[in-house]
Symmetry: C2
Subunit: 148 residues, 2 copies
């Protein structure tokens, strides 16, 4: 299988929402594809610090992730890469697509001067935690969320 | 005590680095104030999605935090607020400065259209975890980091 990584275009958005929603934890909170997702997409596209990346195989979008490049003062002025909304098509799992996506994310981070990658994963996702640990991630932090 | 919240200026930077470094977990990785911090500060100042905020009391900087406003597709196209590098002067703790800072962070997030605040805290910081839970945060995620 050959994977192509590219920035998402508007025509990918319905498929992206489908991938993000096809998940026990995220299904209810993702919503049905519509105007709020399009507004979110436009905001991501307009931000110089964000990239929405899709993985394409044989012309089909099989994975998605959002990358955010964050400048900072701590850690000796280091920029960091935040990875969010990582999804691989359920029908395509077990072929290493997720690992290749994360390697691409890290390459993009390095290209943007980031010296650290970070992400959070819901405590209900033990398989995802194993996946990230296998990639070398240290499970060093607690993650907190608050509706505003 | 009256707190003033404002965006940091370059003249605050040495004090900010001092606050960030004055911490058992972060001391070694923050580094000594110098050119990398200045470069990080300039990058934060240049980013439309980031704000470095200081809390000032009687003309003295007593707290710092970095806010990042992140657009997105998941959670029905919601933008989220990421809070990083939260520090209160050790000599000024116990007066509620941290809580007021976080309330200011949430106000800034809402003003930027964010419907969710998120942050991570090192597993070595149980007091910080209690602080965030007391603010209403749900400790729902595992946090992962990887050097790039």
């Amino acid at each position: 299988m050959t994977l192509i990584f590219r920035e998402a275009v508007r025509g990918d958005l319905e498929r992206i929402v489908e991938l993000i929603a096809d998940d026990a934890v995220a299904a209810t909170r993702t919503g049905t594809y519509g105007a709020p997702h399009l507004a979110g997409f436009e905001a991501v596209a307009a931000s110089p610090d964000n990239e929405l990346v899709v993985a394409e195989s044989d012309g089909e979008v099989v994975g998605v992730m959002q990358l955010t490049f964050i400048p900072g003062i701590s850690r000796n002025g280091a920029a960091r890469l935040l990875v969010e909304a990582v999804r691989v098509d359920k029908a395509q799992r077990g072929q290493g697509i997720g690992r290749l996506m994360m390697e691409h994310a890290h390459e993009r981070g390095r290209a943007r001067g980031c010296v650290l990658a970070q992400l959070t994963s819901d405590k209900q996702r033990p398989e995802a935690h194993r996946f990230y640990r296998n990639l070398g991630y240290e499970q060093s932090h607690e993650g907190f969320k608050l509706p505003l």
